[in-house]
Structures are given as C-alpha cells and as structure tokens.
C-alpha cells in the first residue's frame, strides 16, 4: 500500500511539474508575440496602420475602460447573449419534447424543420431587422434562433432515443402516460438536451455579435464594426480582445456545466445494457 501511494504521489508531482512547465511556456510565447509585435510596428517592419501595436491597443482599452465605453458595450452584448440563450434554450427544450412525444407531428414537420435548420441563421438577420428593427430585440432573437435549433434537435434526439424497455417497464407497473413522461422520458432525454445546451452557449454569443456587426449602434460587435469602418485598427483589436475575454468566460461556464453533467453522461452510456 505504501509503495502504491508513493507511486501515486510521484505521478501527482510529475503532473504538477508538467502543468507548470506548459504554463510557463505559454507565458513566454505570449510575451514573445507581444514583444515582436510591438517592436515590429515601432521599427516599421510591419505597417502600424494595418497591424496596429500592443501599446496602441492597450491605450485604447484603457481609454474605453475609463470613459465607460467598454462596460457599456460589454453589458449590452452580455445581455443579448444571455437573453437569447435563455429564450432559445427554453423554446428548444419545450419544442423538442412536444414534437418528440408526438410521432405523427414529428413526421409531418420533419422536412420543414430540416429546411429551416439548414438556413445559416446569419442570413436571417436582414429579415429580423425588417421585423424587429435594429435594436436589442433583433440581436436577442438572432441569438435565440441559433440556440433554439441546436437545443431543439438534441432534445428531439433524446426523446426519440428513450429506452423502450424502460417505458415498457413503467407501463407494466401501471404508470399513466404522464407518469411515464415525467419519470422516464424527461430524465432520459434531459442528458441529450443538456449536451445541446452546452454546445449552444458559444452560438448565443455568435448570434448576438453577428446581429451587432450587421446593424447596431451598441455592443462589442458594434465596436468592432465602427472601429473598422474608421480604419482604427487598434480599436478593432481592442474590441476583439474584449470579445475573446467574453468568449473565454462563456467557455468557463460551459466547463462548469460539463462537470455537473458528468453524472448524466455516465447514465446515458450505461443505459443500453445487454442481457
């Protein structure tokens, strides 16, 4: 036992060392890129109008953060993303269960759903502008529609993949359709639905940003677009940097959900146990 615990300790130490080495390497790489970038634009190796420079980007960020621009536009984008995500997720799950439960309806709607699914959601933006204007609702809806389809298809697949034997088992116990829905179909399909939700999170941000890029006067996407139209490369990079931070934060949320979901994942893989 002591031998094995010593071996485990050894491996753990090795892993910590490795993680430290990789982290340090990444920092060095980042510093090198920033240094070369800064030096290159200063020495006019690169055209500073085209690639800007880390210093200029930093100044932009400092200015935006001091005058509130940064917080104002970030808040707008976050609001659109979250609202779109919540609306799309709720609608996707409800529709997935409603249509998945009804075989005839699913069959009837199948080609229509697929047709709408096939459209790149970005292409719907002009239509949404006509319908909903260029304000925040348009971005929320664009994000929601993108999320909705991802969540919907996963939920639908989940409902269709419910283990028949479990449904039969409950029916044999005298369960009513509603009891079967709540005790077998929902918990079993929820694992799939959550996978859809997890995939959809970054898409909510994409939907909101695209809406802002196309038509708006606020949001991070607007900052990118308006800086670009003024040939303000530093502004574009600064806005992209903010966007990167937002996306990384969202990915952190996804990781968190992933960890919470591990229970479900194990469930869905062990369910089809053969005799």
């Amino acid at each position: 036992m002591t031998a094995s615990s010593a071996a485990i300790r050894g491996r753990r130490a090795q892993r910590v060392r490795r993680r430290f080495t990789v982290g340090a390497g990444r920092l060095v790489l980042l510093a090198a890129i920033v240094a070369i970038w800064q030096w290159g634009s200063g020495a006019h190796v690169f055209d500073p109008n085209v690639v800007s420079s880390p210093g200029a980007i930093w100044q932009h960020l400092a200015k935006w953060s001091l005058d509130g621009t940064l917080w104002f536009h970030s808040a707008i984008t976050i609001e659109e993303t979250l609202l779109g995500f919540l609306i799309g997720t709720a609608a996707g799950i409800v529709l997935g269960f409603a249509i998945g439960q009804n075989r005839a309806l699913a069959e009837l709607l199948d080609p229509f759903i697929l047709a709408v699914y096939s459209i790149p959601k970005v292409a719907l933006a002009p239509l949404f502008i006509v319908w909903f204007g260029i304000g925040i609702p348009m971005k929320v809806i664009l994000a929601a529609v993108t999320v909705l389809f991802i969540v919907f298809f996963n939920t639908l697949a989940g409902v269709r993949n419910v283990d028949r034997d479990l449904v039969d088992a409950l029916w044999l116990m005298g369960a009513k359709p509603r009891q079967i829905l709540m005790r077998v179909v929902v918990p079993s399909a929820m694992g799939w639905a959550l996978i859809g939700v997890r995939i959809a999170i970054p898409y909510a941000l994409i939907g909101a940003i695209i809406g802002e890029l196309i038509a708006s006067n606020r949001g991070i996407g607007y900052l990118v677009a308006s800086s670009g139209s003024q040939y303000d490369t530093a502004g574009v990079f600064a806005a992209l940097l903010v966007l990167t931070v937002l996306a990384i934060a969202l990915n952190g949320v996804v990781d968190l959900i992933d960890r919470r979901m591990s229970l479900w994942k194990i469930d869905s893989t062990t369910t089809p146990r053969g005799a």
Binding site: D163, D165, L166, D168, A169, L170, W171, L172, M173, G174, A175, K176, Q179, R183, V184, P187, S188, W264, I266, D267, T270, T271, R273, G274, A275
Partner: protein, 258 residues
Amino acid sequence: MISAIALRDVGKIFVRDDSDAVEVLEHVDLEIAAGSFVTLVGRSGCGKSTLLNIVAGLIVPSSGTIAFAGEPPAYPRPDVGYLTQKDTLLPWRDVLRNVALPLELRGVEKAAREKRARELLALVGLAHAERRYPRELSGGMQRRASLARMLASDPRILLLDEPFGALDAQLRAELQHELLRLWSGSGKTVVFVTHDIDEALVLADRVVVLQGGGRVAADVEVAFARPRDARSVRTAPDFVALHERLLEALGASAGAAA
C-alpha cells in the same frame, strides 16, 4: 378449479414486411394453476419470451384468448410482475427510489413507500446498497434490486424471463435459492422461463417444454420435496430420469424446429 392463467389457442404472427411474416406461436394451450411454480423450458426462438410478453400484455396475440382467473385480461395489470432478461432499473434513481417506484406510481406517500422498499431490500439482501445507483451495482445486485422492485407492487403472478441467465453459476444458484425462499408460502403464481433444465427442475412444481411455435413437447410434474436446494434435488432418486426425459423432449423439439 380456475387457473391463474389460461391461454387458449394463442397464436402470434410477426409481420416483418409485405412479403415476410413469422409465425412465432401457433395454437398454444396452457393453463397455470394458482399458487404453482411453473417453468417453461425451450430453445432460443421457440417463442417462450413472446409467450411471456403476451401474458404480461406487452404483445397482443394475433389469435386466441387469454384469461386471468377466468376473467378476460385488462392491461396494464399491476397484479402481474414481470422480470425481464434485461435490467430496467432507472439509471438516474438510486436503488431505494427504484424499488419504491411501483408504489410511487400508485400514489403511496413517501415515508410509507420508502419503508416498504427498505423491507424489500432487506429481504433480497441489498439493505446496505439503498443509496447506490444501478451502474454502481454488480450484475447479481442489479437482479436483486429488480426482484425487489417487482415485489413492491405485491403481484399475485410473477413472470420471470431467464432472469438469472447472465449470472455465473454460483450466483445463479444463490438467486434461485432466494427466489424459492421468497415464493414459498406466498401463494404467488410463478411462470419462469429458462433454457436450463437443471434450473427448471430445481425450481418448479411443473416443467413445460416448448417446441418451435410454442407447442408443448412435454409437461412434467416435479414432485421433489420442498424446501429444496440445488443439492437435494440433484441427488433425488428421480432426478436423472426426469432430466433425461426433459432433455429428450428438448432434443426432439430442436429436431422439429429445424
């Protein structure tokens, strides 16, 4: 005397597509006496699982009738418990909540159903595992949990479809013993499907050998004294003769099926 289960002229044809149909059961007549332990023995594909599914109500027969205690069937019927080959414990519920499920569906309140579930878990030797999830249980423990869940609705009739088929010999003997212990004196009617003659003889009052199409190839009373265990049955004087007879019937049915 009215039989617990009576099948009359039952047939089942599975239609695969327009040109292909398989007749799994034809003209099956079978009566099961109330309170008896009957094993149905047959080779794979003889229709024994289909027969059990029909009794349980999962499959509607193409022809013929079925009666419970002389009454035409109304499904679903919680007085029939069905233990399938495959475990159907809900993976997102722990053992206790799985066993309590039949009572929960019936609207029994939480404290009462959990008390009953704990009693049943103690009965099948799983009292220590009530908070575990099905995936954390061994094959034998899953079977025990399934058995407890089936008993929770206190069914009068137990249908078991090769319930211990996937277990090793040791564990199978153990669970056979447990099943007999649970059944004896309960007055429940048991229909137990297996392809294992030894298992059939250890358990049953009566062994029915089915041919292809579900026709009866042999119908034998097993009079070994109860309580029994695998050992006492195997050393009983008639065991070899009975075993031989059933094996012959099973062999003949294989010939008929081919």
